[in-house]
C-alpha cells in the first residue's frame, strides 16, 4: 500500500509548492493505526483522490475529493466489506488544441478502495456528490453496532 499519495513524476514540480504538507503527511502516518484502512493500488494513471473516513456509532462516512466531475463518471461499489470509488475524469475537449501554460490537474482513471473495519448494510449505503466532494454513508449492520448492556448487581 502507499503511505504517501502517489504523484505523477513528470508533474513533481506542480507539487513543489505543497512541500510543507509532507511533514503533515508524515505526522499522520505515525498518529493513526488506521492508515491500513485505505489501500491504494499501484495504478499508473497517477490520480489518487484524497479521502477521509469517519466513524460514529451508526455508520462510516467516506468523503473523497473529486472536483470537476459528472455524477455519471463516478462509480461506487461495495464488495466483501470493501468500498471502491472509481471513475475517469476527462479533460475538457475544447482546450485540447489550445496552447497550454500550466497543467497541474490530474486526468484519467482512478480507483480508491477502503476496507471497512466492521460489516455494513449494503442495501442502505448512500452516495452524494456535491461541491466536488463525494460523500458515501455506510450504515453499520445491527450486529456491528455497539450495544448497551444493563448489568443488574444484586
Amino acid at each position: 500500500m502507499n503511505l504517501i499519495r502517489y504523484q505523477r513524476p513528470d508533474l513533481a514540480w506542480a507539487g513543489f509548492g505543497r512541500l510543507s504538507s509532507l511533514r503533515d503527511e508524515l505526522d499522520r502516518l505515525f498518529e493513526s493505526p488506521w492508515t491500513e484502512l485505505a489501500r491504494t493500488p499501484q495504478l499508473l494513471s497517477g490520480w489518487t483522490p484524497a479521502l477521509d473516513v469517519h466513524e460514529d456509532k451508526d455508520s462510516f462516512v467516506v468523503r473523497a475529493e473529486l472536483p470537476g466531475m459528472k455524477r455519471e463518471e463516478i462509480d461506487v461499489s461495495l464488495h466483501d466489506g470493501a468500498l471502491s470509488i472509481s471513475g475517469e475524469r476527462q479533460a475538457v475537449k475544447k482546450h485540447e488544441e489550445a496552447e497550454v501554460y500550466r497543467t497541474e490537474r490530474f486526468f484519467g482513471k482512478f480507483l480508491r478502495t477502503v476496507t471497512l473495519p466492521a460489516p455494513v448494510a449494503a442495501e442502505k449505503v448512500k452516495a452524494q456528490y456535491q461541491n466536488g466532494v463525494l460523500t458515501v454513508t455506510l450504515p453499520k449492520t445491527e450486529a456491528a453496532k455497539p450495544k448497551q448492556i444493563d448489568v443488574n448487581v444484586n
Binding site: R5, A14, G17, R18, S20, S21, R28, S32, W34, T35, L37, A38, A50, L51, D52, V53, H54, E55, D56, K57, S59, F60, V61, R63, E65, L66, P67, G68, M69, K70, V92, K94, H95, A98, E99, V100, Y101, R102, T103, E104, R105, F106, V114, P117, Y129, Q130, N131, G132, V133
Partner: protein
C-alpha cells in the same frame, strides 16, 4: 457550611484550521480569444468564492463549505485549509470582461483579450 463547587466552563472547542491557505491546482490555456483558467477547489461552492482584481493581479480565495461532523476520524488525507492563489495577468486581458463559474468544486475563469490586441487582418486598399 456547604461548599459549592462550580463546574469550570468548558473551553470552547475550536476546530483545528490552519491559518495558511492551500494553493489550488490549476490548468491554464491560451485560446484564440484569451485565456482559460481551471482551479480545483473541492468543498467550495459559489458562496465561498471570492475573486478580487487589483492592478494586474487576480486573487482567488475559496472557503470550504461546512461539512457535517461524522464522529471519530479514522483516516485523513484531505486538507481542511481554504484555498488561495494569486496570478499576474497579461496586460492584454480585458479585465472588465473576466467571468467566473464554479461547478462541482472546479472554478473556471474566462479571461478574454481586449479587442484592440486581438490579431486581425488589415485590408489593403489600392
Amino acid at each position: 457550611m456547604k461548599a459549592t463547587i462550580a463546574a469550570e466552563p468548558k473551553p470552547a472547542v475550536e476546530r483545528t484550521r490552519p491559518q495558511e491557505f492551500a494553493a489550488p491546482m490549476v490548468n491554464i490555456f491560451e485560446t484564440p480569444d484569451g485565456y482559460a483558467l481551471e482551479a480545483e477547489m473541492p468543498g467550495v461552492n459559489k458562496a465561498g468564492l471570492e475573486i478580487t482584481l487589483e492592478g494586474n493581479e487576480i486573487t482567488i480565495v475559496g472557503r470550504r463549505a461546512a461539512e457535517p461532523e461524522n464522529g471519530e476520524l479514522l483516516f485523513r488525507e484531505r486538507s481542511v485549509a481554504d484555498y488561495r492563489r494569486v496570478f499576474e495577468l497579461d496586460p492584454a486581458i480585458d479585465t472588465d470582461k473576466i467571468s467566473a463559474k464554479i461547478d462541482q468544486g472546479l472554478l473556471t475563469l474566462t479571461l478574454p483579450r481586449s479587442e484592440q490586441v486581438k490579431p486581425r487582418k488589415i485590408t489593403i486598399s489600392e
